[in-house]
Symmetry: C2
Subunit: 134 residues, 2 copies
């Protein structure tokens, strides 16, 4: 197999997983949100707590998000870069969502870590944040 | 080459790069901090700005950090997990540093993205954050 071709295919596959997850958020679709996530995911979210471990705790973070979000839900990349190897990848993005009330919404930073498990790219880590206040 | 052995060697090499970088921070050693960083690094830092691009802007973030840090400088992992493939890796850590004045210091979250370039693990992305205030 051609290595460059394989790498490119992995980049396409990683992009598809991450964009499908973002689309599921916009649709309030929990099943879609969780489809390619590891049971042992570690998440650093915008609001507290400091750290979220495991898929059940991860799922609950979306309850809070959706309780604040207006329809149509915004969860959109403004810039996205994918670094994909053959079995490990990470995605660096800047994002825009409705946030928790400000009329202009919320810009936040996002890093996603993935591992290819049994041939399927799987999200094992998410880090969402905004800069700290001065 | 045995794949598991190779993967383990890459994990060791990634850990060495990240721990050497942390040690250089504790030593206020700019050369050590920058040794294994990409010129095109994208950083999401704890304080503003929203995004830092390129090695010159990245270097300046340490001026601010060191202007606030007391000696001995703390920049210590409290938990660290490495996901390393053959040419892409990411590191997820919780960290403790002096922060900007609080007597108890600052706990923050850290994700580091790396790519193996010309045989050398190179940091291309850092995401440092604390949870947003309520």
């Amino acid at each position: 197999m051609n290595v460059m071709q394989s790498r490119s295919e992995d980049e396409v596959a990683v992009r598809d997983v991450v964009e499908s997850w973002m689309a599921a958020v916009r649709s309030r679709d929990y099943e879609g949100i969780l489809r390619n996530h590891s049971s042992g995911i570690v998440m650093f979210d915008v609001p507290p707590p400091f750290q979220v471990k495991g898929i059940d705790a991860y799922k609950k973070t979306w309850d809070l998000f959706f309780s604040c979000a207006k329809d149509p839900v915004h969860f959109d990349p403004t810039e996205m870069h994918i670094t994909a190897g053959k079995d490990v990848a990470f995605v660096v993005a800047t994002m825009h969502c409705d946030g928790d009330g400000g009329p202009g919404g919320l810009d936040f930073r996002l890093t996603v870590g993935l591992r290819k498990i049994d041939g399927q790219w799987t999200i094992t880590h998410e880090h969402h944040s905004i800069p700290a206040l001065d």
